[in-house]
């Protein structure tokens, strides 16, 4: 019989995420997947799953779950209080949750997104090779709601290979190295200097599609519309208001605003954990 998790409290935004959908961008299908990819891999390792097994990604306020079998769970990513049936439990290390008990991952004390990995993985039906929720195009399971029941995969019969691991702290300043983008020449020399010299801040309007920023607007030398072109993960797109948006995993696969630079994928995990108001420093690199 399949073990399941029942959603007791869904939180502000909790979705199923794995390593994402690859190879379908030409059909308009975003990559999707966990925004904090190292947290996904580490959480899975701690419960003995394959690195890309599906987990739950929460946003700021966590979630609560009730398994119908005894399961091993780890809550990692953004730090938060963890309880089992109201009793404090450890964050960042594997916890046994008895059948029928409620695991609660609380509101974050820093960062944005916590990850709840369960031994066996969340076993919802894959869509185009991934179990990830894609909020832009509506593929994969919907955002969790109270009462949802999630199937679990079969846990590995062996004990998890590690019990304790260091988790990176959420950033107090977000460094974003920047490579030249395909449309850097659409911007003034002043705009290019401003981008790397000024301090931007993470906007509260950020989401899984993009990390929006607030700061000095970037002026263009070329006006007019850019014909739609392919967009890459980490693209720094500049819409008409001049404020750069860093594309995260649910970004559209084609778009019409110029891309001034590209942030390497490895730097985006920190972007996923940068709370609204966090200073952003774009640096050439």
């Amino acid at each position: 019989m399949t073990a399941t998790l029942t959603v007791v409290r869904a939180g502000a935004l909790t979705t199923v995420q794995d390593a994402g959908r690859r190879g379908h961008a030409h059909l308009g299908v975003p990559r999707s997947g966990a925004l904090d990819a190292p947290a996904l891999a580490l959480a899975n390792r701690l419960v003995g799953n394959a690195p890309g097994a599906a987990v739950l990604e929460t946003t700021l306020t966590g979630c609560a779950l009730r398994p119908d079998h005894t399961v091993t769970v780890v809550v990692g990513g953004a730090p938060c209080p963890v309880t089992v049936d109201g009793r404090p439990a450890a964050w960042g290390v594997p916890v046994r949750v008895p059948a029928g008990a409620v695991l609660d991952a609380g509101g974050v004390t820093a960062g944005v997104r916590s990850y709840v990995a369960v031994a066996g993985g969340i076993a919802v039906e894959p869509v185009l090779g991934s179990r990830s929720t894609d909020l832009l195009s509506g593929l994969g399971p919907a955002q969790l709601r109270p009462g949802d029941v999630l199937p679990l995969g079969t846990a590995a019969p062996r004990t998890p290979p590690a019990h304790v691991a260091p988790w990176p702290a959420p950033p107090t300043v977000l460094p974003l190295p920047l490579r030249p983008g395909p449309r850097a020449d659409w911007f003034t020399a002043t705009a290019l200097r401003t981008l790397t010299a000024a301090t931007y801040r993470v906007s509260q309007h950020s989401n899984r599609i993009g990390l929006r920023t607030e700061g000095p607007p970037l002026d263009r030398v070329r006006t007019g519309e850019l014909p739609s072109e392919g967009m890459m993960l980490g693209a720094v797109q500049v819409p008409p208001d001049g404020r750069p948006v860093v594309f995260l995993h649910d970004h559209p696969t084609t778009g019409g605003y110029p891309v001034i630079g590209v942030v390497p994928e490895a730097a985006l995990a920190a972007a996923a954990q940068a709370a609204a108001g966090t200073p952003v420093r774009f640096t050439p690199g």
């Binding site: 379908h24 983008g181 739609s228 392919g230 967009m231 778009g255």
Partner: protein
């Protein structure tokens, strides 16, 4: 490729390249060449090949500079205009913007469907939503601007026009295109039970077949 400097490779981060071409036709030909080389096993590993209006993005490329050098030396043949079967899309020309488009085209309302269905289109690229194909093929004198204010909801199956493009909405979304018709059953546009979920993939030729009489 042909004379001049028809192909320009733009930087796009550590693992991607944006190849820019002068027009939609040569973009389509270059995209077709990429697919041919990938099928033949002569293209280095590339995770995503994403055509745009006048560009093709190559993403998930281990060595972009090396690939850029190779591409610069390619001979890319022009694309045959009539190869392969065209996908037929049944459509009723009954959209809410039919009269506006008729006025812009300076024809009668009944004439819009007759004109629109007379051309063969091609999927230039996809985006906006899964299975949403941007179809080129409408002559320049029939291009119409999109609405200044988008509709908050365009139903699935709506056939719209915007600039050089025609498209059928695979699902209900907001949208600013001028709606001239309806595909009565839009389900085949995006069907996850098929091996290829999108009916309209980049490069596919498309014909619209008018259903029923004039509205």
């Amino acid at each position: 490729m042909t004379a001049g400097r028809p192909l320009r490779v733009r930087p796009a981060g550590r693992h991607a390249l944006l190849v820019e071409l002068p027009d939609a036709e040569r973009t389509g030909a270059f995209h077709a060449e990429l697919l041919r080389r990938r099928a033949a096993g002569t293209l280095p590993p590339v995770e995503e090949i994403v055509p745009g209006a006048r560009t093709v993005l190559l993403d998930g490329v281990p060595h972009p500079e090396e690939l850029a050098r190779r591409i610069a030396g390619w001979e890319v043949p022009a694309r045959a205009t009539d190869e392969g079967e065209a996908v037929e899309i049944p459509v009723r020309y009954d959209g809410p913007d039919l009269a506006e488009v008729a006025a812009l085209w300076q024809v009668g309302v009944d004439e819009v469907g007759v004109r629109h269905s007379a051309y063969t289109y091609r999927v230039a690229f996809c985006g906006f939503a899964p299975g949403f194909g941007y179809l080129t093929g409408l002559p320049a004198e029939l291009h119409v601007p999109r609405h200044d204010t988008p509709r908050t909801r365009v139903p699935a199956g709506a056939l719209g026009l915007a600039g050089p493009y025609s498209a059928v909405y695979p699902r209900a979304t907001p949208g600013g295109w001028r709606l001239i018709g309806t595909m009565p059953d839009p389900a085949p546009l995006w069907d996850l039970t098929r091996d290829e979920p999108a009916l309209l993939t980049p490069g596919t030729r498309v014909r619209f077949v008018a259903e029923g009489g004039a509205p």
